[in-house]
Symmetry: D2
Subunit: 291 residues, 4 copies
């Protein structure tokens, strides 16, 4: 049963390298998450456990792939920036897009019980991924501005909508009607005057989304502590705890841990919820765009 006469079928695998010298932006979206969030009773307008689970899976991805220098998440989507010079999988498109999507998905399912201990997964969720190639720094900044502006717009709408429904007693149809044609300031006004909600004091996680960056370690510490301490405790109104119940590193083999310590002893992935549109974020972290 010689195999050589069939091997010509390999010739149909065509090369798919992505252009060198460009930023690779990998974006991932929940597949049918409208239904998924309904089946799993996600809280409205934001379910903090679901968001934390997304963030944890994203952090796993970023720790596994050192060429990712920045990530941004909101709702059921996440964007990852691979540095310009990355040669991950020789920049083969299908390989990168499938592997990163697979690993994120795997982490999401793997860590589900940590964030939803009393709510078993009803069925396997999935995500789709894509890579967008950006030639310059301007486009990268505008990409992330686009996602964060989108976060703001969606969250302000959803927050007001669900306040009208949950606290205001409106039906969803009525709430949509109430909001039709309103501007930002109108929604702020509705929230404040009717429900005593100061939008700007809500959890920045909801208003800004989640940003993951690498930070240099001040001093060499054992790997296991590095990652644990990487979880930033931002003083948010909801005083959420970003530390996952299990050590984020528990999924790593010993060999991997040792390698991590040796290869990149001084950086850790940090979770923040801040403005990514203005210059401050970028001028404080010049290494993201310029290697």
């Amino acid at each position: 049963m010689a195999n050589s006469k069939y091997e010509y079928v390999k010739n149909f695998e065509l090369p798919d390298p992505l252009l060198p010298g460009t930023f690779l932006l990998f974006r991932l979206d929940g597949h049918s998450f409208h239904r998924f969030s309904a089946e799993h009773n996600f809280e409205k307008p934001n379910d903090v456990r679901a968001l934390q689970l997304m963030d944890h899976a994203a952090r796993d991805v970023m720790e596994e792939y050192p060429d990712i220098v920045l990530a941004f998440g909101e709702s059921d989507e996440y964007s990852f920036l691979l540095k310009k010079s990355t040669s991950l999988y020789n920049r083969r498109q299908s390989k990168i897009v499938s592997t990163l999507t697979s690993y994120f998905t795997s982490c999401y399912v793997f860590r589900w019980a940590t964030y939803f201990p009393d709510k078993p997964l009803e069925y396997p969720p999935s995500f789709d991924g894509r890579i967008v190639v950006y030639p310059g720094e301007r486009e990268i900044r505008d990409y992330f501005a686009w996602r964060q502006a989108d976060t703001h717009i969606n969250n302000l709408y959803n927050t007001t909508f669900w306040a009208l429904v949950q606290q205001g007693g409106q039906t969803t149809t009525e709430a949509h009607a109430t909001l039709r044609g309103t501007y930002s300031k109108d929604k702020h006004e509705i929230l404040f005057s009717r429900f005593k909600i100061n939008y700007n004091q809500l959890d920045p996680r909801f208003r800004k989304g989640t940003i993951l960056v690498r930070e240099e370690e001040p001093e060499p510490t054992p790997a296991i502590e590095q990652v644990a301490s990487a979880i930033e405790n931002t003083a948010t109104p909801s005083s959420e705890c970003e530390q996952p119940a299990t050590s984020p590193d528990s999924a790593k083999s010993k060999k991997q841990k040792k390698r991590a310590v040796k290869a990149k002893p001084r950086t850790r992935v940090v979770v923040i919820h801040t403005d990514i549109i203005r210059d401050e974020f970028w001028s404080a972290r010049p290494n993201i765009l310029v290697e």
Copy 2:
């Protein structure tokens, strides 16, 4: 915070449609599964639970995506054939490759505990995927012949190798040396004369890999039973039970089940371990290649 000035970044998403009128072959491989199988103590040369888990995840994929007409699995890889006329996700490459890889991965992790109840996942496994476009029926037949011939060659080698090690007391280095330069018939001879193993009577799952096909239902039955009965009980030497511990449909929502019954009431996914190289398989199932 208007979003419109940033939206130009969407223009960098380039279209990636796959050629119409061609077979789409989606192949998926375990990522670093050498290490994964070692960390999870998979049995050598074949771990039947691990293979059944692969098969289950593959069946999930095939049930979710009706345009898949055939699948073949061996070891930590699976190949899925999408029919020529499929318009799944408008044949967008990244969308298909990422979604199918994600869903398979999700099912694999989701069902892990069913097959390894006493062995928790150490860390999240991942897979990579790719799509190969094939223009004709000949190439499709040769593709699957290529994979099954590969299964045979690898399994005969591994079976003999591990017999030498586990039963013959050789070190792995010695076993490799013993097998260097041997032909198929030599390995058959070693197995039979030294270990009383008749290779051709080993579980066909190991020798042939797993084939998933759709079969017409003889009569309309409730969806839940359809799928349950879809598990073929082939009389194999190991008399393995292919029925997973949990109902294979348990992951589906009620809505999905209802839709499934209505949309495709008469087919079920069937698991077989048979020869896919000779004509018999294909002439018995003309609908796989010709719609």
Copy 3:
């Protein structure tokens, strides 16, 4: 002035192989030929010299590239079929599309004076080209049927339109108005009743377009005569002479001629104007689609 430090820029040249095992259809269109035909006073509705020049350039291309098995031309466009197994330029898309377009263009300008001896080129004409990949024989037959049906529709319209203008004394605006909403049979009727033109007896070149095929030579003859005799003298109403004024081979070097005789001694490119939609054409030439 070492060059090595700049050579990295070569890495930005990405591979662009076309799928193996598929028909490659190369189509070429005149660029701004509306203006070009006006500036060079092409006769309406058809300029036989301009069409013959197109045909000659196409024949040059077909003689230069033996993997082209069929060509079809109408107006200022030409389609060339490369056989399924072609490995021309390793199937690199840009290489094929640019070289074939360039060579056609070069032949067109080079041979201009032969067909327009009293009308010098006013400026350099250009063409654009593209390659379409077709997986099967059905699509190839339908592609050529599509082009010939298009030829028919356009030519019937144009013939009637210009009869109304040139012989009927209508303005172009009036002629368009006369034809608005008419069917084929109406146009036939206008031509016959008003202008005594039996459309079906017009030069088949205009009604059917031009087809180029390869035919086996009955006996070995010197190359120079082979090509000369390849020009089919179809008995058309216009009794056009398809033989170009200069020998079609005069552009070939001696070395090329010698090679041509040796490499493919028994085929010649033949010009015909016949139906390509029905089965007859294809069943008489099975080698076009099946190698």
Copy 4:
């Protein structure tokens, strides 16, 4: 003969847009020009008429396509830089590459007799083209540096080689042997000591290649003169006349001329032979890289 049932074949034409926001580098090479130059007795090591013809065709291309901001030619190749923001043909790859290659070829054949009045074209020459996408300014500078360094290396070798043959009486085999293992300074020394040739005083066209740039017009002048005056008379040892025998604009229609005057009244294409590797060239022309 309805066409609608065949039109589905159009769906096989896949989109091929090039990444936005990147420089498009279009390079063109003579196809089998070794043979072409031999058949047409091009002078060795450089045929100034052949080079001028290349330059003229390139200038035609640059005048026809205003988005080309820079061109560089040597021997039988030419490189054209399309500005980052170009939306020429919606950045469709095949359309750009085929049309530019076609137009260059057409101009080359069209203008042949101007430069070779006593030497008719033996057969139609052709060129191949490709587009390389570059994300940044650094790569563009290095690309052109790469081509000019290549020009230098080739020309120094060829000049010395042909001096040894033509003036030194060596066979070509002997000349290659003489040059084996030599460095630049050795070749300079051979040229000077044996043949009294000061390499650095040879025509910069040969040593530097040809650069085409756009320059602003100091004052509005009629289009016909603009272009004529665009030909730079560099004081070169060979005192070549760069002005073509026919007005370079003669190929343009009246309508085109009028449009040219209106749309881009203040730039003209200028031919220079200077260093493109050092900063001076680029700092004097900041608009090439930054719009």
